[in-house]
Subunit: 156 residues, 12 copies
Amino acid sequence: MYVVKSPLADADLKAVSEALQGALVDLVDLSLVAKQIHWNVVGPRFRSIHLQLDEVVDSARTHSDTVAERASALGVPPDGRASSVASGSGIGATPAGWIKDTDAVGAMVDALGAVITRMRERVGSTGEADPVSQDILIGITADLEKHHWMFQAEHA
Amino acid sequence: MYVVKSPLADADLKAVSEALQGALVDLVDLSLVAKQIHWNVVGPRFRSIHLQLDEVVDSARTHSDTVAERASALGVPPDGRASSVASGSGIGATPAGWIKDTDAVGAMVDALGAVITRMRERVGSTGEADPVSQDILIGITADLEKHHWMFQAEHA
Amino acid sequence: MYVVKSPLADADLKAVSEALQGALVDLVDLSLVAKQIHWNVVGPRFRSIHLQLDEVVDSARTHSDTVAERASALGVPPDGRASSVASGSGIGATPAGWIKDTDAVGAMVDALGAVITRMRERVGSTGEADPVSQDILIGITADLEKHHWMFQAEHA
Amino acid sequence: MYVVKSPLADADLKAVSEALQGALVDLVDLSLVAKQIHWNVVGPRFRSIHLQLDEVVDSARTHSDTVAERASALGVPPDGRASSVASGSGIGATPAGWIKDTDAVGAMVDALGAVITRMRERVGSTGEADPVSQDILIGITADLEKHHWMFQAEHA
Amino acid sequence: MYVVKSPLADADLKAVSEALQGALVDLVDLSLVAKQIHWNVVGPRFRSIHLQLDEVVDSARTHSDTVAERASALGVPPDGRASSVASGSGIGATPAGWIKDTDAVGAMVDALGAVITRMRERVGSTGEADPVSQDILIGITADLEKHHWMFQAEHA
Amino acid sequence: MYVVKSPLADADLKAVSEALQGALVDLVDLSLVAKQIHWNVVGPRFRSIHLQLDEVVDSARTHSDTVAERASALGVPPDGRASSVASGSGIGATPAGWIKDTDAVGAMVDALGAVITRMRERVGSTGEADPVSQDILIGITADLEKHHWMFQAEHA
Amino acid sequence: MYVVKSPLADADLKAVSEALQGALVDLVDLSLVAKQIHWNVVGPRFRSIHLQLDEVVDSARTHSDTVAERASALGVPPDGRASSVASGSGIGATPAGWIKDTDAVGAMVDALGAVITRMRERVGSTGEADPVSQDILIGITADLEKHHWMFQAEHA
Amino acid sequence: MYVVKSPLADADLKAVSEALQGALVDLVDLSLVAKQIHWNVVGPRFRSIHLQLDEVVDSARTHSDTVAERASALGVPPDGRASSVASGSGIGATPAGWIKDTDAVGAMVDALGAVITRMRERVGSTGEADPVSQDILIGITADLEKHHWMFQAEHA
Amino acid sequence: MYVVKSPLADADLKAVSEALQGALVDLVDLSLVAKQIHWNVVGPRFRSIHLQLDEVVDSARTHSDTVAERASALGVPPDGRASSVASGSGIGATPAGWIKDTDAVGAMVDALGAVITRMRERVGSTGEADPVSQDILIGITADLEKHHWMFQAEHA
Amino acid sequence: MYVVKSPLADADLKAVSEALQGALVDLVDLSLVAKQIHWNVVGPRFRSIHLQLDEVVDSARTHSDTVAERASALGVPPDGRASSVASGSGIGATPAGWIKDTDAVGAMVDALGAVITRMRERVGSTGEADPVSQDILIGITADLEKHHWMFQAEHA
Amino acid sequence: MYVVKSPLADADLKAVSEALQGALVDLVDLSLVAKQIHWNVVGPRFRSIHLQLDEVVDSARTHSDTVAERASALGVPPDGRASSVASGSGIGATPAGWIKDTDAVGAMVDALGAVITRMRERVGSTGEADPVSQDILIGITADLEKHHWMFQAEHA
Amino acid sequence: MYVVKSPLADADLKAVSEALQGALVDLVDLSLVAKQIHWNVVGPRFRSIHLQLDEVVDSARTHSDTVAERASALGVPPDGRASSVASGSGIGATPAGWIKDTDAVGAMVDALGAVITRMRERVGSTGEADPVSQDILIGITADLEKHHWMFQAEHA
């Protein structure tokens, strides 16, 4: 049926669309994981981490919207449904129930680390094919690495 | 481990926590489904529906945060993880790929209808046990029914 | 022709829609009466009452929109036309022409009192049929009773 | 009783006060008609028209306040009561109940057209008597003609 | 020395510049008189009048800036110095010292009335010569007459 | 002397006014206790708790205003004087002087717990007599229980 | 094809539409000329003029939108395309390349002077035919003459 | 236990801390008294005084926070508990129940007068010991004397 | 005469300045074309497209300012005059007069498509010569491709 | 008639009220002189000085309000009428007509210098009598000396 | 070359300018030290201290601007260059590299303590010479002592 | 002690961290130099340059924060202490004392030119090692080159 005419050649489009779809799934999951811990964290550092996690949620939601709309702009329908997120995310399982503040910080260090590793691979795989998409992924990576530093700094 | 002391008796707490957990899963999924269609809708009414869906997303995100934090306030850890949403949501499957504007409106009429039916049951099951939680669910239902009317009105 | 599918059973819908339509007519008239006096009040307290009346206008406009859209959400087309308001309002006749400040306050005490009495009856008649609509009417009543107190306090 | 001393001679005042009172009734009715259709419109263009009508409501409310206060400033008590609006408005009857989007646009083209015709006559009848009031009526006419164009443009 | 080239013929310019210079002096004095009473008013209505007078001050300051810059735009240097205001204003003398609230309202009715009479003459004398300047004076007159009504209304 | 005419029957009014007066005293004291600890807390978590306490102060001030004005609206003069608060509050004594951060959190868990228990009794005692007042008390209870959860979560 | 029904008689419409179309072309060109100099000005007064020119751009863009939409409202399709602007503007040629600050001010004095002369003719030619359009042109002229004064003042 | 190292010598600290603690108690009580009258005032001037009192409440709350945190900054734990306020305030008893508008103004004249007298003594006693604290007390006194003038002016 | 010292070597500067000048002309024309259609569009989708076009205008104006000032920063005077735009733009001719909504969307799909093709070539030609300018062109391309998707989506 | 009870002894009051009345007259005149030059300045630095003068106007208006209300708070009616300003100001005569930019700066250096000299004398004469008033005069002096520096800096 | 005429006698000016120059150097260094620790702090309290330090940076930047411009206003050129700050600051050396959260708090207690001691000496040395400068230094000291308390409180 | 795990290989990290640390020192110094001149500039263009320099300060502060936090995110502790800035900056010495406006502009042309040259080298040295850091440096360079153009333009 409907096709947005892509400005990219087919081979380039394939590489870029895989990178964007992968990023979308990771970023939606990051927003859900950060909210999950936002609600379940306990311990003396509760308030500080509770607030910090909402900043991750805001970042992840904004970035997921950006990559999904970038995929649409290239003519590729994005998929951010719950089941796709549950099966495709690069973030490991988050346990249910209350989570101690120290463990919460550790969980975010791991979650962000996993997404960043994959984002850097996507930066590498898109530069030739589409510098416009690559530039978007670079900007998102910078922001995620800033969040990663902060959780690492307080995990010292 | 950690327990928030609930202001409710055990039986009341059970009824209320089931209602809140069910509402959480439905509302998170509603936000994901609305975003999915926001990105994939095509057709002459694209722009109007694209914008309208972001208002549903805002509502669903705000309400999901409210019910999750209400569960925490009653001493029950909420669960809003992708896999829990994927398996527990009351909204039927959303197809992948581009979706015609008319079908998008129909899909939202169905999704909102499914959530509203379950929310009204939760309003009924919580009034005795905890009027504070019931009042929250009533307010959310009013808002969802307003969105439902608007999609029905443009589906005429 | 077009029907919004109501979430209520027919008997419940009848009771609720009468309450909402009655509230709509009262609230639109309240906004017109308050504006009429806003323009025509004279006397040493002119400025204070002139400003206070615009707060009533704002409340009445907001509440009338809420109840009209609630009716639509239940599948019942609301009627806020001038002739319907003129014939159906519970507020007594407002005389034409300049009105002394003391009389203006008295007129608002009476107008709000008349609407509040009818709103409390509507709160009573809707609780069984639709707690969602009742909750909306309760919130409006609280606001009208606050305005009523203020006009009574300065009518002492 | 109280009289605001008019800056106009008696004959001038008569012409101007008739123009202002006529404008007031038309503008209040325009705000009620636009709200009525805002609540009752159905069809694929629901959302666009629903939003557009609230812009008409805002314009009509602002302009009605301006002309009413202008009448007061000239020493003539304005009359914007529901019954005066119902009997004196230049806008034809609006049918009750749901209204198709295409019909809604047509109804607004007619309503604005009727008010504009009368406003232009008022511009003509007040220039000699009071250029200050005329200038106000000119500004309102410009705004109404802009709304009129937009509804005509989408009625094409 | 320097001359801004006027878009008006000499005779027209003379009429218009007299009107603008006269308006400037009246408006600067209106701002000083309103501030004087703002500081010195006493009596039960103190607060209401104190606040209302600052709205007159804001209007008068804005309008005086508009007419002075209009004179400059026509190539005529405006004069708003204290001595020029003291000698040229159309507002009668304001007594020094505390002033009762009722007297304060009366003083403002008189001051605004004096300025309005002169403004209407200026509207009459500028229409032929420069409709652009006349339009500015019409707008200022409308605003002053609105303030005048309010003080008259509370002087009833 | 002056009486605001209550919309409630006498017996209902008695129950409701006791609930509102009790809530007023508790909420004013909650604002004073939270400010006291805001100024006196010491320890590594100083800043986080210092800021969190001001959010409790804001809530308590807003809610105390709401219940006091609700009492006035029912015709019952509210009493929020220091001596009435000192003698009638349901919150236990707060020790003078510096308070360790851990103790500060514990003190807030206790203070909020005491007020919530009494608020839930008031929700129970007002539903029959005045659903409008009950709805206000329900909303306040929801907010206090959210604050209570947060202090409990960081007291784990 | 489509026609917006004009409120004006044919002869009047012809005069007014010529005035509006001429104003549109002049104002769009004014915005482009001011931007051109905004980018190319050099000299010690660079920053002041660079900022001042963006205020002209804002005015010219706002006014061009107003006159274009006024033409549409009268049933006449406006033409603001680059080629129409290039051929129809009343502003003389602007040289390419860097421009000294003193020359930049002189160029703006000339450009504004040329547009103002034509605007005053349009004010004269539309008063009979359509006072509503004339009022719009008067307001724009006032604003352009204010900008003109400022550039003349600093060109002294 | 914990001590903030004071920048003052012991004798100076004693004088300053007494002044600050006294000011704290007076200012907290002023906020409670002003709120009490805000809720209980009746009479024709109700609205004006009701609003004016909230400005006193805002001032008193801001100033009490400033002096309490100043005490902490000097190493002296402040005491703003209800019982300390009830016993230590320099403001006389406020009667319970409705209060006529004229009496309300009189009560505020007295309350502010009592606090100002004590604040001026504190300004005198702290200048030598700590000009930083004195400067804070001077600023608060200026603000209280402004409120005092306004209530006196309307008590004339 | 005056020269801004370029940070680039001559050959690099030539490539980059051609790219920037070309982008400037395209973007200014895009803003004029989008405004032209904004004023002339008719049909049932009028309002949605009318609003959407102003978002394109905002983007195009912002981007044209960015590239023009980038040229200046490299020492190359930009040229955005009407005649340069008329002769150099890559967008095809826009017909005069009213334009049906469907045709309007098609025209924007074409106009954006033409500009994007040229922008991608400029991204390719500037990366070696000046990564700073390339980064600016990449960001603009991303934004234009987002607008392009939206018009394509509603042209389906 | 009415007397605000002064917190000062008679001799102190006399010294302070003379200082405040003198400051009032100087500051009102400063605002008028700065506006006069704001309208009449010409020359290459027109725009910069035109804007800078409005910052002086804002300062002078704010400070004049502060000292006038301080006088009222001490029980002394302030006098800011045009004739009092014309006769009592410490600022020398300002010539009528256009004023060159360099002369404008020089005139402001002189005007501010004259006011500052007198303000410093008032700071000296009020410290004993009323440190609260002195503190206000000190703050105003600091602000005037900042403006003075800026005009001197650009007069170099 | 250029001299701003100082309002102070030479001996007074010398004392005041030394105080201001000393304060400038301390405050610029305080802003740099606080930023340094803002970037390098690690440990569980990272986020809280990271945010708190930016509040110190904001204070220090604002205050340094105030004292530098005060020096200029007195005719003394301020010196805030990196080398002057490095050699003249009263704050001890800050070690390079990551810093534990507890050490970070201790470092800020020391840095603020050092600056406060010197600021209090400056308050003492300027009162005679220039009460205007002294008042500025008093206000800055109050703010620094508030920051000092907070770091001490969390260092307990 | 603590280490943030870098996403880069060791050799890459070395190149990138040198670039970031160099950029940090240059940018902090740029903010100090711009402030120094902001305070010391004299001459007819004082105000324009004084304001322009604060825009450079804002840019330099924002960018220095970005590069310092980027270093932290890569696991390298940044060093922005006064002594490091004094010894490591690429900007030449700024003379103490008053500086003529023309010299001030020249000093900024030189300072910005020195920093830009080094920033372009850093852009070149980081692209291979870390495109994320490079992208940040590119954005900063674009902004600095815009400031550079403006100072060059007014130095013509």
